[in-house]
Amino acid sequence: MARRLPLDYAVLNLGRRPGRTLLAGASSALVAALLVATAAFVRGLDTTFQGAARADTAIVLSSVAERDVVRSTVTAGLGELIAASVRGVATVDGVACVSDEIHMGTNLRLGDDERVRAGFVRGVTDRAFLVHDAVTVTEGRTPRTGEVIVGRLAAEQLGAREEELAVGRTLRFENSAFTIVGRFAAPGTTIEAEIWTPLAPLRGLTKRDDSSATFVKLESPDAIGELALFAKRRLDLELVVIPSAVYYRELSDYFAPIRRLSWALAALIALAALFGGANTLNAAVQDRVRELATLRAIGYGPWALVLSLAEEALVLASAGALVGLVAARLFLAGSSVRIAMSAFQLTLDPPAILVGIAGALALALFGTAPAALRVLKLPVAAALKEN
């Protein structure tokens, strides 16, 4: 069996050039943190849309709205009509799970602050809580006329401080003031960045007698066909039924270029770190060429030296990656990102962490390649004489 160099040799080598080791370790830490951040961003974006998507829920909106809920207008009372006409609509205590809603982007002002902020307001009835079962009122109560409840990420979406959206504070839109009477959570959905207010008063304020869409929860995903059939029968209403899973997948697809760009930027930076790390290790081999030739001369094979180099790089990368992960945990956990009329939380979960660690270790291994090649081709006799 070929002789192997002890692991101590690789570890001790790291201490011989503390400055260089520190810089290479920092590079690994940065790469790991960057990859974790990218994965957390992309996964956060994905899960936000997946969270709102449910196999047993469908959205009924105007067929001329090109699947845009904000642009859609459907007749007021469509929910009642659906509840009365469609088989398979889910019920809770005899109440049909149909939710007529207005979705609107509007300009808001917080308290006495005259700064205009773009926010997303949803006009709802109590039935919305039957359909959107991810929503939980975490503080206060449900809203009445002149009141709103705000999502957990609404402050982030509005670019405001949390305390500006505390229960008891006011906000203004559509020339009216609203008191915040509650806060809600809807983990892993876009709903968390919204502001909810009762539907009927909002209709009055916005001078419209319709809704944007009706959300329908069904007894099973199979019943979506019954709802689609209703839309076909009522051609006069110009409706289209979209399963919520399809709707949110399409929304998620809309952000695919952003996801690709994020990964491309991370890959470019990782590639720069790869070249830097490879150059450092190559230089280290150059510095130690006589020592390596001596090891060859006393019986260690070229692959033993290569293995030792790889161990050296992996130990350093592991330490750096751990530092990077701690930094990512400290700075990213619980952070949220504002995007268009919504916001989402970064998902710092095991897959994201795995991407960071695996990326840093893979870069370390690839970075060993030039130095390994050099060691494999080392002319022992000449190298022993090298100064």
Binding site: G225, E238, L373
Partner: protein, 176 residues
């Protein structure tokens, strides 16, 4: 020759890396040939010959009364997934591949070049029922039934005061 070794070792890695970075969503042009699904509609719905005295959808919608027997002809617009039902559109309406700026449209049966109100006015719903409920099976594939196929349907008309027409079909002839 440090630099040449360096480059030799690194070139494949760099190429792979850049390939990953440049990776784009290069969707392959999917084959357009889609096989028709098999429909579980009972055979007794099938009409081997076209029934006589068929009416066009546009005319039928103005003439028919609720509960009246009807023979209706037109082109299949769209199906309801998982249900034995489809929308029948008057043959006078041109689909996107026949008229309009989108002759290469991949879904010409959605009549997206036609005004939605005009389309709805020229459309009726055909249903295959088992008792009061529409059968839970796809109609598409029944004796070649597909989008934009010419069909003639025999059944009972159901109308409402909003101008909607539903035909509860008891027979269908699919033009080959």
């Amino acid at each position: 020759m440090t630099s040449s070794n360096f480059l030799r070792a690194f070139l494949p890695i760099a190429v792979v890396g850049l390939g990953l970075v440049a990776c784009s969503d290069s969707k392959k042009s999917a084959s357009a040939s889609v096989e028709l699904p098999t429909s579980a509609l009972p055979e007794n719905y099938h009409l081997a010959a076209e029934p006589a005295n068929a009416r066009d959808v546009l005319i039928a919608k103005t003439e028919l009364k609720d509960g009246e027997p009807v023979v209706l002809r037109g082109r299949v617009q769209d199906f309801v997934n998982g249900m034995a039902a489809f929308t029948l559109t008057d043959g006078a309406l041109k689909s996107c591949d026949q008229e309009g700026p989108m002759k290469s449209c991949e879904t010409p049966w959605d009549y997206c070049c036609t005004d939605p109100a005009e389309l709805n006015a020229a459309s009726a719903v055909i249903e295959f029922r088992d008792g009061e409920a529409v059968r839970r099976t796809d109609a598409r594939g029944f004796h070649g039934l597909d989008h934009l196929k010419w069909v003639t349907v025999k059944g009972i008309a159901k109308t409402d005061d909003k101008g909607n027409l539903t035909v509860i079909a008891d027979g269908i002839y699919v033009k080959p």
